[in-house]
């Protein structure tokens, strides 16, 4: 969480010109104004055709004050778990540890390790076990979390997890090549994460 502290200290605080605040980004434009003006000069009677930009939903503006809610998009290759859901906080299992994301979080890209994602909305907490993936947090308090496989924690079978953990610990001890060791290590990591998800 304090990874960027050293880089920030190195830059002198000269004011708004040298550092991009999250307040600088307005909402993305809905139409390409230079194109429309050029068109009008050439043929003022015909209406300018719409460019692809006009069909896209504009990026939400980065508000100047802290927004009260975080908008979460949690997607998997085969389904969209959460789509533009307004929540209070999410805790993502980043490779650097459990990272809490509140509205107004600094823009971050985090690689996720196998672990539990918890979504906090009021008093409800929904927990998903994620196999691995990425979390993109944007300056306008929109968080995109992508994973290959995510299951609610109550769908995990404890016996299978224990068996898997023993099997991979054995494989790790008997592994010879680098690749085998890496695979066994992945197995041990995933199963221990599953285990702590079940107990924690």
């Amino acid at each position: 969480m304090f990874r960027r502290a050293t880089t920030l200290l190195r830059q002198p605080l000269m004011g708004a010109t040298s550092r991009r605040f999250s307040t600088d980004l307005p909402a993305a434009p809905v139409e390409d104004s230079t194109f429309v003006e050029a068109w009008k000069k050439v043929s003022p009677n015909v209406e300018a055709p719409k460019t692809p930009l006009a069909y896209m939903k504009p990026r939400p503006a980065t508000p100047t004050s802290l927004p009260s809610k975080l908008t979460v998009n949690f997607v998997l290759p085969y389904a969209s778990e959460l789509s533009a859901k307004e929540v209070d906080m999410v805790i993502v299992p980043a490779t650097t540890g459990q990272m809490g994301v509140l509205p107004g979080h600094v823009a971050t890209i985090a690689e996720l390790k196998p672990g539990v994602l918890s979504v906090h909305e009021g008093n409800d907490v929904t927990k998903y076990f994620i196999s691995s993936g990425f979390a993109f947090i944007h300056a306008n308090s929109v968080a995109d979390i992508i994973a290959v496989e995510a299951v609610p924690v109550d769908r995990i079978d404890a016996n299978l997890v224990q068996k898997g953990l023993q099997e991979f610990t054995q494989k790790l001890n008997s592994a010879t090549t680098d690749l085998e060791k890496a695979e066994a290590q992945i197995g041990v990591d995933v199963h221990s994460a599953l285990n702590s998800a079940l107990t924690g």
Binding site: A94, V151, I156, I186, L194
Partner: protein, 71 residues
């Protein structure tokens, strides 16, 4: 994200790509699910594709690979 400059994650050091790593993780998680969900998940693991090598601008006979899991 390695804060120590060049230190690659162990799977990268062993020659594995991120996609291979993340697919292995996903398969392991799917194998640990409770029953009705496990059957649905198994259908997601299947890959089915046809592969053909090209020699001198012409494709050779395609091989069809239909597997249940990564390996």
């Amino acid at each position: 994200m390695a804060s120590a400059g060049g230190a690659a994650p162990f799977w990268r050091a062993a020659g594995m790509t991120y996609i291979t790593y993340t697919n292995i993780c996903a398969n392991l998680v799917r194998n640990c699910l409770k029953e009705p969900f496990k059957a649905e998940a198994m259908s997601r693991e299947k890959v089915h594709f046809s592969l053909s090598k090209w020699v001198d601008g012409k494709p050779e006979k395609p091989t069809i690979r239909s597997e249940g899991s990564e390996h």
